[in-house]
């Protein structure tokens, strides 16, 4: 068991191209942390540096308080589960799992004991004598996981291990991994570009962009308080709607945010929190789930022209235009507006996010209970 510290870690490819730049992060012992970001953001490179599979250009990596920056991968006691599974194709499942134990000089009896235990947990016992080519995608994924587990490493490093699975299997494995982490309690870094995986699996998520660490926090905290428009838009699908806006004084002495959706009166707490936004060019952010078909107390009504409706059964994703720009709403399953019609929709001003249009940075929101949306 071990904590991990990344101290100003950078990785340069060539003289001036940085894959990862000045990443500072402490991962607690036993924590499950998700690295989330789009392709090429540096999350896999960071993981590979922790594994020792990529050289660190500058900075230090500490695992369990020991400086591992220049230590060979085999001496770090980490196990990697690759996106491609990277099973040794010429070896059987048993030999795949045994390889790491053999390399570490474990006696045959103890090797068998560990393989049998892990195979039992993962349901791999019937397949131990098969080669990877004779296994399904899900079974291969389990073998990759089993190969990591038998080693009993200090740290599990998982590089998009679920991305090759179909949606159903992915959901099942997500749950399996959460259960396994609870059972083993090992420090785990899980790289993904899937927001759902990051939100549901991680104790904390780490959002990366262009080699930089943009935000670290508990999933619901990051969801409720994205630090900038990138995080706000990346962390959910459909992405947050962003509208040009201004913060003005209202006639009643309060504050109001004016945007294409209308005038959003701010509560005194919000007005105080967003004081610094006065006079700036702003973007107001509204998540698709904070736009409703029904009117409600304090909700602001606006007219939307329906462009497309994706009926998912459990809900409807509705694309609409206001003043010529497209936005998205996540509406109830029974509300299916006709494409081409104009309908009233309603936005909740208490859920709005404000960003500076130039810097794209968020103005800190007043505290919310994430589930109820109530100010506290």
């Amino acid at each position: 068991m071990a904590s991990i510290q990344l101290q100003t870690v950078s990785k340069a490819f060539g003289s001036n191209v940085y894959g990862v730049r000045d990443v500072d992060l402490t991962i607690e012992d036993g924590e499950f942390i998700c690295f989330l970001g789009p392709s090429g953001c540096g999350k896999s490179t960071t993981l590979r540096m922790i594994a020792g599979l990529e050289d660190v250009t500058s900075g230090s990596i500490l695992i369990g308080d020991k400086d591992m920056t220049r230590v060979a991968p085999r001496d770090r006691n980490v196990a990697v589960v690759f996106q491609s599974y990277a099973l040794y194709p010429h070896m059987t499942v048993r030999q795949n799992m045994e390889f790491g134990l053999k390399m570490r000089g474990l006696e045959p009896a103890r090797r068998d004991e560990r393989i049998d235990t892990v195979s039992e947990i993962l349901g791999l016992t019937p397949y131990l004598n098969r080669k990877p080519a004779a296994l399904s995608g899900g079974q291969r994924q389990r073998v990759a996981l089993g190969r990591a587990m038998v080693r009993e490493p200090d740290v599990f490093l998982m590089d998009e291990p679920l991305s090759n699975l179909d949606a159903k299997l992915r959901a099942e494995m997500r749950l399996e991994l959460i259960k396994l982490h609870r059972r083993l309690g090992r420090t785990t870094i899980f790289v993904t570009h899937d927001q759902v995986e990051a939100m549901t699996m991680g104790d904390r998520i780490c959002i990366m962009r262009d080699g930089h660490l943009v935000q670290v926090g508990k999933p619901l905290e990051v969801y409720a308080n994205p630090v900038d428009t990138f995080v706000a838009q990346f962390l959910a699908s459909p992405a947050m709607n962003l509208l040009d806006a201004e913060l003005l004084d209202d006639t009643d002495g309060g504050k109001v945010v004016v945007s294409a959706f209308g005038r959003f009166p701010l509560s005194p707490t919000q007005a105080k929190a967003y004081e610094a936004a006065r006079g700036r060019k702003l973007l107001v952010g509204l998540r698709p789930e904070d736009i409703h078909e029904e009117a409600g107390p304090d909700r602001v009504a606006f007219h939307a022209e329906i462009v497309a409706v994706e009926a998912l059964g459990t809900e409807n994703i509705v694309v609409f235009t206001v003043a010529g720009r497209e936005y998205t709403a996540r509406l109830g399953r029974h509300y299916i507006p006709a494409v081409g019609t104009a309908v009233p929709l309603h936005a909740d001003p208490r859920q709005l996010h404000l960003f500076d249009a130039e810097t794209t940075r968020a103005y800190p929101r007043p505290s919310f209970e994430p589930h109820s949306g109530k100010e506290v």
Binding site: L53, R74, A86, H90, F99, L157
Partner: protein
């Protein structure tokens, strides 16, 4: 109908490839004076084969060819594997280095033959199987390196990553994981190396002597001032292609898999 046309086409091309070989086989089995007869098999005899071994020392030539071809593969393959792997995995001398390897193949062999002969004469390696083995290994090395580079590039680098985090050294990952995974490609490259050495004539003629003559040199020597002993040449050629046919029979699967392995990357 379409199937029949495609089959006719296949039969035609098969005939183009096979008929000369079958005619060589036929000529090797008829007496010398009937070699040019238009009859398919006027008289069946194994005298040409017997004569090759009894009067022409073809057995020695055959053994020489096997020793030199196998030897050159044994010497070249470990070097080609490690060099090809280095080019495939590391940024070793960049793209220029890779093409430099291939560029050596563009030299006409005769440009290398004379300097090699001068050097070999100085160090006493002329007329020796060791000398011929080494020169074949050196000549085949760039080609084998280039081919193996493609195979190694097709092996996912995650496998080495997995092996190294599992506890293997970089060399251990190469030896225990990469080489077994690339085995079909390595087998294909080894067979190609064997064929190149087996068929080589120029260096064998210039660097060799009567004691070390290989099959191609022996076949050429049947072309005398009294004419070409076509029946014996045919017998020799039939024997010369025998190991290649046996090898291709066993490694055909690997050869096809191997050649297409690197190309799709």
């Amino acid at each position: 109908m379409r199937k029949a046309v495609s089959h006719l086409g296949l039969i035609f091309f098969s005939a183009v490839v096979l008929l000369p070989i079958l005619w060589v086989l036929r000529t090797s089995l008829v007496p010398e004076h009937l070699s040019y007869s238009s009859e398919i098999l006027p008289e069946l005899t194994f005298d040409n084969y017997l004569a090759l071994f009894t009067t022409k020392h073809f057995g020695n030539n055959y053994v020489n060819s096997i020793l030199v071809a196998v030897g050159s593969v044994v010497v070249a393959m470990p070097l080609a594997c490690t060099t090809g792997y280095a080019f495939a995995r590391f940024r070793t001398s960049g793209r220029a280095g890779r093409f430099a390897v291939l560029a050596t193949q563009m030299l006409p062999p005769v440009a290398l033959a004379l300097p090699t002969f001068m050097f070999y004469r100085t160090v006493g390696l002329t007329n020796s199987l060791t000398g011929l083995t080494l020169v074949y290994a050196a000549l085949n090395l760039p080609f084998l390196t280039w081919i193996l580079m493609g195979f190694f590039e097709s092996v996912p680098s995650d496998l080495e990553g997995a092996a190294m985090t599992d506890g293997a050294t970089a060399w251990g990952a190469f030896w225990r994981i990469v080489l077994p995974v690339a085995a079909p490609g390595i087998a294909a490259a080894a067979v190609l190396g064997f064929i190149l050495s087996w068929n080589e004539f120029l260096f064998a003629l210039i660097l060799g002597g009567p004691r070390t003559a290989t099959v191609p040199v022996a076949l050429a020597s049947l072309q005398t001032s009294n004419g070409v002993e076509i029946a014996k040449v045919s017998a020799g050629v039939s024997l010369a292609i025998l190991p290649l046919m046996i090898a291709s029979r066993f490694i055909q699967r690997y050869l096809v898999q191997g050649l297409s392995f690197g190309s799709v990357k």
